[in-house]
Amino acid sequence: MQIKGILLSALAAILSVSLFAGCGTDPNVKPQDSTTDPYAVDMNATKDEALSPGNGFQAYPSGKTDPVTVDGVEVSPNDFALRSFELGYMLGCSFQDPGELSVDAAVQYGMTHIFEKNFYQLDNYAVAYRTVEPKLVEEELIRQFGKSDYDMTKSVFYNPTTKKLEMWLPEYGTDLYYHIDAADVSGSQLKVSTTFYNEKEKSTLFGKTAITVEVADGKPLIRSVSTQTE
């Protein structure tokens, strides 16, 4: 995905709410006026530009970035805001359950995370071939989702000769401008709502995400992701 192009889009802030499950944002949504949206742009939000410095691309988060306690476990809303962008926009996947992810999308997500903690920090200019044991990707997906029911031998990334997964790392590297609007805790669940912008000044809207995280066995696990696109 050419995130650079997306972020340069300076269109009016017209939002459409996605209820579409699976990869690809539902196009069956009518444009709406952004001013009526509950996630209105907060132009006065505090900027915390130093929170996620990278060697190349940078993240510019603001809002509710402080850790919150969920079921006795400290959870970083910022981490899951980033995960929501990765899943919702970089992979184009919204879901109510991680099992809705296609095997290829799941493998691409898990495998990329093995090599880069935050996708936005990937170096787009260094086209890198990577190969790993499927078990490692499975472990990564279990770490993030609490389960991995995928038959990775069915993935387009599986090489039956080497019995490994292989992939050219995707060109996800980009600067990220976002504001964490809410980090709501309810029981063992945390819902992080984030607004993403096209530029550092956070003046035009790129889209919104909501990610639900549930703490189980002392670990925060991703349960659902939804997106709203301008």
Partner: protein, 681 residues
């Protein structure tokens, strides 16, 4: 005439001819002025220094001293026998030709064919050479300078002069005589004889296990030495040039100055230990060692050869290090500003230990190979190391300290101005140079020279024609991007990895020139216009987009049907049809964008591919904008698997909505390479 200097301190001049000379307990300066001493047939040493004598020999003119080297007689004889507890120093500017007697060194100790008790084996004093020209030729199984048969060496120091020293039989040039093959008299094991301390700080030292070559010339022309000739002519002396004789250790060799050329033989090191054994019962693994330090301004050339063809293949001794048939051993330090040339004419490392298996009780056991304890090469050392079939420097050393800049990227390393690498010695077609001549030898020949030109295998190549789907490109692992109709030169037999990319439709390459569309130009591809001379562009810096799926292509040199393995995503292309057809296989997905309520007047764009609004911010939603590259009605666009695109919907070119689409194989129609996408508009 016999001469005896018994406890008579003072200065003496020996000239003329003597039957033998004995210096007993004297503190004496003895000038050897054109003297001739020969004890042939007399069963004694020509000169015998004993009972704690300290003697400085001052060389004047040219003198010759010969021990009794008559074969089959049972006696011990040296040229100059340096008894236990004595010190002998050589100075002056004259020449001394000295020959050992039977089992004895030319200068050093006597020897015996019988193993003697361990505590009695140190039968020699110390030898120091400060100047003069000394040509030392060992007697049968005796070193040139050092010890005789079955006797330890002690301490040899060379500070100056020009020294030529040659072993005889199974003895070293400088160091020990024949130690043991391990079975002699069942008394001494391999490694238990040692060459003591050998210290060279200056002068010119030429030492070999045998006397055949002009070592000065060998040192000068080390880079064009005929190693095959060395191997073929090797007399199987099993000993080091400097260090251990057969079965002997070299616990302490320090070379910190001077010019040194050393030649070992048949499993003995050039500088280091002598040949060991193949039998576990014959060696003392704890005793055998080869510790060498070369530093200062020393200029050292060490060569080892092997006469046995099987040992050429399985490994003789190291040029600097241990001999064949030993266990883990050796601490080798190259430091200072030393210039070191180490050349192994067999399949053993030039610096390290033999590549042959360690001695074992049962050769049916899995082989275990020895390792060097440590190798350290300083950054200011000038190193030329070459092996005929192994690492130039034993990279398997237990401790290895060497600047990585010394290494090449291949499996075997050779150093020096003309250094090269051979990956497959058994199939190497070697070429060598000597002066202005170039020699080429066939595969399997051992006739290789030190200055080895790497085998230059003729790698068959072919031009691979790339056929890509419309508006797509193929990006190879080396970063080379090829468009439909273009060719890429590839090696036949090699597998190339590649990925698929979509080009940016707003770009064009016309006859190799990159262009952006201008008003009036056709702005979307068609089959006739988009070929290898006129196409859109993909590049790693953000033009177009690329997929994540790994594909491969292999060209084979035989005729046959084209192969495509969907599981491994590998093309196998046969002779006569080297065409990579990524257009008819599942290397992409064609997305067709439709509108549920009719397509008329409705368009779709794809960021970075088909109308990227971000690239024309000043023209957004203006009619003029779309003359360059506009969203299209009923857009069908080829996209690479694993990419995520931002698709945007327009009605009469007015933006409506967008969607992120992860490009993947349609799970319900796995065989299709197209999928339909419907906007709810």
């Amino acid at each position: 005439m016999r001469k005896s200097l018994s406890n008579q301190n003072g200065n003496y001049v020996l000239t003329g001819t003597y039957e033998n000379v004995v210096i007993d307990g004297a503190q004496a300066n003895v000038t050897l002025r054109n003297v001739f001493i020969d004890t042939t047939g007399k069963k004694k040493s020509a000169v015998f220094v004993q009972n704690g004598a300290n003697v400085k020999f001052i060389l004047e003119g040219e003198s010759t001293i010969k021990g009794d080297n008559v074969d089959k007689d049972e006696h011990e004889s040296c040229g100059i026998e340096v008894g236990v507890g004595t010190n002998v120093i050589f100075g002056g500017e004259g020449t001394l030709n000295v020959y050992g007697g039977r089992y004895g060194a030319a200068i050093g100790s006597w020897g015996t064919r019988i193993n003697i008790d361990a505590e009695l084996r140190r039968q020699v004093g110390t030898v120091t050479i400060n100047s003069g020209n000394i040509n030392a030729h060992g007697g049968i199984n005796g070193a040139g300078i050092g010890s005789g048969y079955h006797v330890h060496c002690n301490r040899i120091v060379i500070n100056g002069g020009v020294v030529h020293a040659y072993g005889n039989g199974l003895a070293s040039g400088i160091g020990t005589g024949y130690g043991t093959s391990g079975g002699a008299m069942h008394v001494a094991a391999v490694g238990e004889y040692d060459s003591g301390h050998i210290i060279i700080t200056g002068g010119e030292v030429y030492a070999a296990a045998y006397e055949r070559y002009d070592l000065e010339a060998l040192g000068e022309n080390y880079a064009s030495v005929d190693l095959a000739a060395l191997n073929a002519a090797d007399p199987k002396h099993h000993s080091a040039g400097i260090g251990g004789g057969y079965g002997s250790s070299a616990p302490d060799i320090q070379i910190t100055g001077g010019k040194i050329v050393a030649l070992g033989s048949n499993g003995g090191a050039g500088i280091g230990g002598g040949r060991g054994t193949s039998k576990l019962s014959h060696i003392n693994p704890e005793a055998y060692c080869a510790n060498i330090l070369i530093g200062g301004d020393a200029d050292v050339t060490a060569i080892t050869a092997s006469a046995r063809k099987n040992e050429f293949a399985t490994g003789g001794g190291a040029a600097i290090g241990a001999g064949r048939g030993t266990f883990d051993c050796g601490n080798i330090t190259l430091t200072g500003n030393a210039k070191v040339k180490a050349i192994s004419a067999s399949a053993s490392p030039a610096i390290g230990v033999s590549s042959n298996r360690v001695p074992c009780a049962d050769k049916n056991n899995p082989p275990v190979y020895p390792r060097t304890l440590s190798i350290s090469v300083g950054n200011d050392v000038t190193l030329y190391a070459v092996s005929m079939g192994h690492y130039a420097v034993d990279k398997n050393a237990i401790s290895l300290s060497i600047d990585e800049n010394y290494f090449g990227s291949t499996d075997r390393w050779f150093f020096g101005e003309d250094a090269v690498a051979i990956n497959d010695i058994n199939n190497a077609k070697a070429e060598s140079r000597c002066g202005d001549k170039t020699y080429t030898v066939p595969v399997g020949s051992v006739s290789l020279w030190a200055n080895i030109i790497p085998p230059q295998p003729v790698i068959p190549k072919a031009n691979l024609k790339i056929i890509a789907p419309l508006a797509m490109a193929v990006r190879f692992e080396d970063g080379d991007v090829k468009y439909s109709g273009e060719y890429k030169e590839v090696e036949i037999g090699r597998t190339y990895e590649f990925q698929m990319c979509s080009v940016d439709w707003s770009t064009r390459t016309e006859n190799g020139e990159k262009k952006v569309h201008t008003p009036g130009q056709t702005f979307y591809p068609n089959n006739s216009a988009w070929d290898h001379t006129n196409h859109g562009i993909y590049s790693d810096d953000g033009v177009g987009l690329r997929g994540t799926v790994v594909y491969r292509v292999t060209l084979v040199p035989t005729y046959g049907a084209q192969g495509w393995d969907a599981e491994t995503k590998t093309f196998t292309l046969h002779k006569g049809n080297y065409v990579l057809r990524t257009d008819v296989n599942k290397c992409f997905m064609a997305y067709r964008f439709y509108f549920k309520n009719g397509n008329y007047g409705k368009q779709t764009g794809i960021d970075n591919v088909v109308y990227d609004t971000g690239k024309y911010p000043d023209h957004v939603n203006t009619v003029d904008d779309f003359i360059y590259n506009k969203p299209l009605e009923s857009l069908s666009v080829n996209l690479p698997l694993g990419s995520t695109v931002t698709a945007k919907a327009y009605i009469k070119y007015v933006y409506q909505t967008s969607a992120q689409v992860y490009v993947e194989i349609d799970s319900e129609h796995q065989d299709r390479c197209y999928t339909d996408y419907y906007w709810d508009l």
